[in-house]
């Protein structure tokens, strides 16, 4: 898996490419924006082909460490295979999930400024 990071109005956008599994999950967990409790992170899954329980666990665990509402993890553009794993594990209940990344970033920005 590769992670491409960009930033918009203080929100980190991580584009995941490839496979998020036990082998690649540490790369995700150790990402600085993921670790930072105050950071809002949008995970763009358009190019994420495959996720397993280790990937779900990494995202759920990262979300727990966020200091909501200022920090938080928002998901966008998951394909059907990825969505299915979120559904089976019930993890979809924990996240705001968007079909496009711009909407996800807007949502994160609104939530952040609502606090200010």
């Amino acid at each position: 898996m590769t992670i491409t990071e960009t930033s918009q109005i203080g929100i980190a956008i991580l584009s995941l490419n490839g496979t998020l599994d036990a082998l690649s999950a540490p790369d995700f967990r150790n990402n600085r924006s993921v670790i930072d409790p105050e950071k809002s992170v949008v995970i763009d899954m358009e190019n994420l082909d495959f996720i397993d329980s280790s990937g779900i666990g990494a995202i759920v665990g990262a979300s727990r460490q966020k200091r909501q509402p200022v920090g938080g993890i928002i998901l966008s553009c998951m394909n059907d295979r990825v969505r299915k794993v979120f559904e089976i594990t019930n993890a979809q209940k924990l996240f705001h999930i968007f079909d496009d990344t711009i909407a996800a970033v807007d949502f994160a920005a609104t939530r952040q400024s609502a606090r200010a």
Binding site: L23, S54, V60
Partner: protein, 139 residues
Amino acid sequence: MSSIITLTLPGDILFARLASQTASSIARLLADDQQTETESCVFAHAFELAVTEAFTNSVTHAPENATSAMVTVTFLFEQPHLTVSISDANEPFTIETPAPDIESFPENGFGLLIIRKLMDRVIYRRDGEWNILSMSKSL
């Protein structure tokens, strides 16, 4: 006709993708004649995911000193059932684990849950020093 395919791999997480992609390819090969494109994608994804989960468990729950352990993945196709069995030499375990409580933001414990939801039939047995987890699904 029944076909058997066996893949034996080092018990290293590096090989999890190889195991799961092989599972996906085999499922697809068997499904392609008989199913629509979407159906065979779903069938292949179920095996890809189940094998990733089982193989990862075999590796991550191996005893500390088992650096040279091998994991065996066996595919048995008996029309219309495809069964994949994962064998390792770890401690015995049970598959009757409860689903984790998602509200507590758990980081693990999803593997066997996923396997049970994807497959038609999941059987665990202990054979001497071996764990054998067999997972079946029909075309």
